[in-house]
């Protein structure tokens, strides 16, 4: 018998009678203002920065200003400026390791823990949000949810090949429990929380 059949047969012989699989709780609808306040508070507590933006103007200006310097900046969001065509799914680590800052769109923000869901399409390249020195995430206020139950309910059923919740900058406390940000991934995370532009 091969390992697979051996393992499956041992499980079948050893397991208990079928136990019930519980239904999961449905989170009551929350007020977006409260969610936004909590999201921003939690991001602060995990070493990230959150800025609320009325429309995309502020972010466009940020990108423009940042690009005036000499550092290698990668934008993946067409709405806020030109995207870097040289960065695509197949771009290798040797180029990406030079990225100082990356701008990526998130599709869900989770108020209880400050996590933002990035899709494979949104990040363009899987390595980009990790290897960049600094990460800027843009997420719509409308896409905030209260907790992880709601977050998973909001994820499309057929996902990409890859997706990630990112909650703040890379961190470690492996040396004497002393918290250091910037272990291997991005050293800083800035989250723009975007409210729809108001037209007067």
């Amino acid at each position: 018998m091969n390992a697979r059949d051996k393992i499956l047969a041992s499980i079948a012989a050893g397991k208990t009678a079928l136990r019930p699989l519980p239904d999961l709780p449905v989170t009551p609808e929350s007020d977006k203002d409260l969610l936004a306040a909590e999201f921003i508070r939690v991001l602060g507590s995990i070493g990230a920065t959150a800025i609320t933006a009325n429309g995309l103007t502020l972010i466009r200006e940020d990108l423009q200003r940042t690009r005036q310097g000499s550092a290698y900046i990668v934008n993946t969001i067409p709405d806020i400026g030109t995207v870097n065509a040289e960065v695509h799914a197949g771009t290798g680590a040797d180029l990406l390791e030079k990225v100082e800052k990356a701008y990526i769109r998130g599709t869900i923000g989770v108020a209880e823990n400050g996590a933002v869901w990035l899709t494979e399409a949104g990040m363009v390249n899987r390595l980009l949000p990790f290897i960049c020195q600094h990460l800027v995430i843009v997420v719509d206020r409308e896409d905030l949810v209260a907790d992880m139950h709601e977050a998973y309910r909001s994820l499309p059923a057929t996902g990409d090949g890859y997706g990630v919740f990112i909650a703040g900058p890379s961190r470690t406390a492996d040396i004497e429990q002393s918290l250091v940000t910037g272990a291997h991934g991005a050293r800083s995370v800035l989250v723009y929380l975007v409210t729809p532009e108001k037209h007067f």
Binding site: A3, R4, K6, I7, L8, S10, I11, G14, K15, T16, A17, L18, R19, P20, L21, P22, L24, P25, I46, A89, G90, G92, A93, E97, V110, E112, N113, G114, A115, N125, R126, L127, F130, I131, D147, M148, H149, E150, A151, L155, G159, G161, Y162, G163, V164, F165, A167, R171, T172, A173, D174, I175, E176, Q177, S178, V180, G182, A183, H184, G185
Partner: protein, 454 residues
């Protein structure tokens, strides 16, 4: 002697260091308490997590088949290994078959359990552990002492010395930021040039074939997205039925482990990226044996948060290495006897049965009850020292006879009073080493009752 008690005794020779170790881990426990208290439905979440895992274990074969089918449909190659040896050989075959020399590995307790690094080293292949804590202990050629905080037994000066010796950092510079930045630079180069990334798996979702890896450092992703080959290794118990179940587990995991609301990165791998090979190794290594034992089955619910380590008053004062196993702490003490009963017969006794471990467990494993039950199994299997058995038989005999009990008690108290040196001896009475004996009264309660009330 290398049992828990003697290793713990050595650990306790440096009392200030024990105090430091205890305080450091207690601080993690306090952070966990704070995080749990901030979730009003905490106890309900634990119950849900427990029920999902109970269901999973009761339907494990079907869920694994479903997971395999979906993973394969996603382009992931699935391997099965009945034991550590098979697991290691699968990995070696993939390394050789793809002519790979540069390997990075993120934290995987399973590969530790299988002794993968040692096995590959014997075959002339080096692996870089990239979790900072694991990297530190790897440089020092030590095993991790904690499954979430591998280098928690070390002080910053120790890390500084190690980095000075291996990475040429400034001597005496103990600043954790400086040391971490150095490791970042060194390991960044390893990631970029890596050909194979090995990762563990926190959760494997049966309904989608996706798997989730949680890290704070980002090291699993740095490797997996750089290398042309990704091998992810999982024990059979890592599968869960539904994507939505992740909501329950991810809410509990980091809060229980470190007090964070969630790990920095919760990465969901579903398909290899273009041009990449993705392999999965599903490992038994004694788990089906554990599953078949009703008293010990539920230990397989463990999600490796190590909350039971941090709360355990014995672990905090004996250190991870005193458990002489990959998985230390209370959960290790109920998992390891299943792997090797005689070698690990001491571990279920490394506990006062205080029960704190079961209370912090996010999936409600009855850890302290299983510690008690393992003791019974070990005694029945003759895995305990024969002196202990004789002593217990003697006690049982005395307590079965009220007259003999009263007589022995009377003689014992008389000896304590009249010939105290017989019992007040530091060499053969461990009680007396650091404690005074109780002051024996002239009369037992029993004889007081007979003279006053009867």
């Amino acid at each position: 002697m290398t049992d828990h008690a003697s290793l713990a005794e050595s650990f306790n020779k440096d009392e200030p260091r024990v105090d430091w170790h205890d305080a450091t881990l207690w601080h993690v426990r306090e952070k966990r308490d704070k995080a749990a208290a901030a979730v009003p439905e905490w106890e309900r979440l634990r119950e849900l997590a427990s029920q999902i895992k109970e269901y999973t274990l009761s339907d494990l074969d079907r869920l694994l088949i479903q997971f395999e089918r979906n993973a394969q449909a996603n382009g992931i190659v699935v391997h099965w290994a009945a034991n550590a040896q098979e697991h290691n050989e699968i990995v070696l075959r993939l390394i050789r078959g793809n002519s790979i020399t540069r390997i990075v590995k993120s934290k995987s307790m399973l590969t530790e359990e299988c002794g993968l690094n040692e096995f590959l080293a014997e075959n002339g292949i080096g692996v870089t552990d990239t979790d900072l804590g694991e990297y530190i202990v790897q440089l020092r050629q030590e095993p991790p002492s904690h499954i979430v905080l591998p280098a928690i037994h070390l002080k910053r000066e120790d890390v500084s010395d190690t980095f000075h010796a291996h990475l040429n950092t400034e001597k005496g510079n103990n600043d954790p930021s400086y040391l971490t930045a150095t490791a970042r630079t060194v390991l960044r180069d390893r990631f970029i040039r890596s050909e194979l990334a090995i990762t563990g798996i926190n959760f494997a979702v049966a309904e989608t074939g996706a798997f989730v890896v949680c890290t704070n450092e980002g090291n699993a992703d740095m490797g997996a997205h750089s290398a042309r080959l990704h091998i992810a290794c999982m024990g059979i118990e890592k599968v869960i039925p539904r994507t939505e179940d992740l909501g329950v587990f991810l809410r509990l995991l980091a809060r229980s482990a470190t007090g964070q609301p969630i790990t920095t990165y919760s990465s969901h791998f579903q398909k290899p990226r273009a041009g990449q090979q993705m392999h999965l190794v599903i490992v038994d290594n004694g788990r089906t044996r554990q599953l078949a034992q009703p008293d010990f089955r539920s230990a397989l619910k463990c999600i490796r948060c190590a909350a039971c380590f941090n709360t355990c008053p014995v672990y905090r004062r004996s250190g991870g290495h005193s458990y002489h196993s990959t998985i230390a702490g209370p959960i290790g003490a109920i998992l390891n006897p299943n792997i090797d009963m005689r070698k690990n017969a001491d571990l279920p006794f490394a506990s006062t049965l205080c029960g704190s471990c079961s209370n912090v467990c996010p999936v409600k494993i009855d850890i302290h009850t299983q510690l008690w039950k393992w003791r019974q199994v070990l005694a029945a299997e003759g895995a305990l020292p024969s002196g202990k058995r004789r002593a217990m038989k003697g006690m049982a005999f005395i307590f079965s006879s009220p007259r003999l009990y009263r007589m022995t008690g009377k003689i014992g108290r008389a000896i304590m009073r009249v010939l105290p040196f017989l019992v007040a001896n530091r060499t053969w009475n461990p009680w007396y080493r650091q404690r005074e004996l109780p002051q024996p009264p002239s009369q037992s309660f029993n004889s007081w009752w007979r003279s006053h009330r009867k």
